[in-house]
């Protein structure tokens, strides 16, 4: 009965609700935590603003173009936050403490059951809101006039970007099936994703290659941004392929890990 779409949705809402309940245990800290990303994004925007009080353009990018790119990077990141943050728990402790078995004994897909324990955590909504404000405001300041095709592609672009984020997270979290905990590797990957908040043109070519073809964070922000700003499709046409390959790599590693998982007896 749980195999229908409706059943899955009901289950996701229920498990996500339980997760939200758990959060309210430490109310003050939870509020601070939700505000923390606002502080971080606010300071990052401020730092960009300070840069442009000294120069009119950086690597060919104007102030509003850089903010547009920053907004573009926040949208897929926020969407990904809403759905896959339980992967952090997988890499941190679920394997290490032998708690992972609970996803294997439920009559649903283990990945779905894992992820739905942490749906709709509020910090993701904040990133989506700030990202949307930055994109709309800087887009208006730039006098951007997207074509019908560009409008139509906005949602798929954000969706693919979120899937790339999710794939990288799933890949590094799945490493914990072999290494017991993979939190440090995941943190390093997240730190690398910060590069995507700025124009790729700033970086050394080797770093650009890394961000495009190894950890493809360029496709979550830079590629969509240059497409929407300048209409250049050189990178963005690879987005479906990159998304597909990233998901394929992450899911196959996850499956291999799942099949070799052994619980610590106690």
């Amino acid at each position: 009965m749980n195999r229908t779409l409706g059943g899955h949705l009901r289950l996701a809402f229920f498990l996500g609700g339980v997760g939200l309940h758990r959060l309210t245990a430490y109310r003050l800290d939870f509020l601070l935590g939700s505000g923390a990303f606002l502080v971080r994004v606010g300071l990052q925007t401020l730092a960009v603003g300070v840069v442009f009080t000294h120069v009119p353009a950086v690597a060919g990018w104007s102030y509003h173009q850089v903010l547009f790119l920053l907004g573009c990077s926040l949208l897929p990141r926020g969407l990904d936050h809403l759905f896959t943050d339980q992967l952090w728990e997988l890499s941190r402790k679920l394997i290490q403490r032998g708690e992972f078995y609970r996803y294997l004994i439920r009559p649903v897909n283990p990945l779905f059951s894992l992820l739905s324990e942490r749906f709709f955590h509020p910090d993701g909504f904040g990133e989506l809101a700030v990202g949307a404000v930055l994109v709309l405001w800087s887009g208006a300041e730039l006098g951007l006039d997207p074509t019908a095709l560009q409008w139509a592609l906005v949602v798929p672009l954000v969706l693919c970007g979120a899937l790339v984020h999710a794939a990288v997270k799933l890949f590094f979290a799945s490493l914990s099936f072999w290494t017991v905990t993979s939190m440090p590797a995941m943190q390093a990957a997240t730190q690398v994703s910060e590069f995507a908040g700025y124009p790729l043109d700033l970086y050394h070519p080797s770093l650009r290659t890394l961000l495009t073809w190894v950890l493809p964070f360029a496709f979550t922000s830079y590629a969509p941004a240059v497409y929407l700003l300048h209409g250049s499709t050189g990178l963005v046409r690879w987005l479906p392929v990159v998304t597909g390959l990233s998901l394929l790599a992450a899911l196959s590693l996850w499956r291999r890990g799942l099949s070799r998982y052994e619980m610590t007896g106690s």
Partner: protein, 267 residues
């Protein structure tokens, strides 16, 4: 109370550190990536200028500022906030209060090996890596000596800031959010994201009032020789010393208040 009392806490801090050797690698990768973002961004700003650009920085000067700011951030990541927060959260702090030692001093002793290890195993390689990749400024011997002294002061301030962050757990129990906010604010107002001299008027005034500039901007002012004679150097060091003393006193007062209202559930 003798200093010898706290030596076992230094050695035990060292031992627990060696259990997690891989964290040094990750701290290094994270710090290198963080420094690279700001260095690439600001080098692009100074790309056109041959002489001193905005704020009187040369391209090599601003690069040195940002890289060494990141090294200082690594040195200041002494885990005191994490440790104190965890002990308050679990209630283990009650056991520490029974012992005939001062808990803040125990934490200080235990964080010394963390600071040394971070400096040697992460800070030095990070500096070497960037020295190979980008041109950096070589300081005069006097400036380097003043920088070392100033870094010692900044370490005390970083300890106090992290201790206070961990002690926020007495109010909020869980401190994930508090630590996130602290990290963001410190990294901006210490000068890691933007050299403080480049901030516009009101923001610059705010940065001058807050204590965090003593953590990175102060030592860097001395390292890069951006001060006027003996008076300028002693103003920087005096500011740091003032905040160090003030924060130590604040920690002592708040610790007493917190310990007296502590409630731990028995198990």
């Amino acid at each position: 109370m003798r200093a010898g009392t706290y030596v076992p806490f230094v050695t035990s801090g060292l031992q627990s550190l060696l259990q997690y050797r891989s964290t040094f690698l990750i701290t290094g990768v994270t710090a290198a990536a963080g420094a690279a973002v700001t260095v690439f961004l600001w080098r692009a700003v100074y790309a056109g200028s041959t002489g001193p650009g905005p704020g009187g920085f040369t391209p090599a000067g601003v690069t040195t500022y940002l890289v060494v700011a990141q090294v200082l951030a690594v040195v200041h990541a002494n885990r005191v906030d994490d440790e104190v927060a965890a002990e308050v959260y679990r209630g283990d702090i009650a056991v520490m209060l029974v012992r005939p030692v001062s808990y803040p001093l125990v934490r200080f002793a235990a964080c010394l090996p963390v600071i040394a290890a971070n400096a040697l195993l992460v800070g030095v390689p990070l500096l070497a890596l960037f020295a190979v990749l980008v041109p950096l400024t070589v300081p005069t011997p006097v400036d380097a000596a003043l920088f070392v002294l100033s870094t010692a002061f900044s370490t005390v301030i970083a300890f106090c800031v992290n201790l206070l962050t961990g002690m926020a757990g007495f109010v909020t129990t869980n401190t994930w959010g508090v630590r996130m906010v602290k990290q963001g604010i410190v990294s901006f107002f210490a000068g890691q994201m933007v050299p403080l001299a480049l901030l516009p008027g009101p923001l610059h005034a705010l940065a001058m009032v807050l204590p965090f500039r003593a953590m990175a901007d102060g030592p860097l002012t001395l390292l890069l020789g951006r001060y006027e004679g003996v008076g300028g150097a002693s103003a920087v060091l005096g500011h740091q010393l003032g905040w160090a003393v003030g924060l130590v006193l604040l920690c002592a007062v708040l610790w007493r208040a917190a310990a007296s209202r502590l409630e731990v559930l028995g198990g």
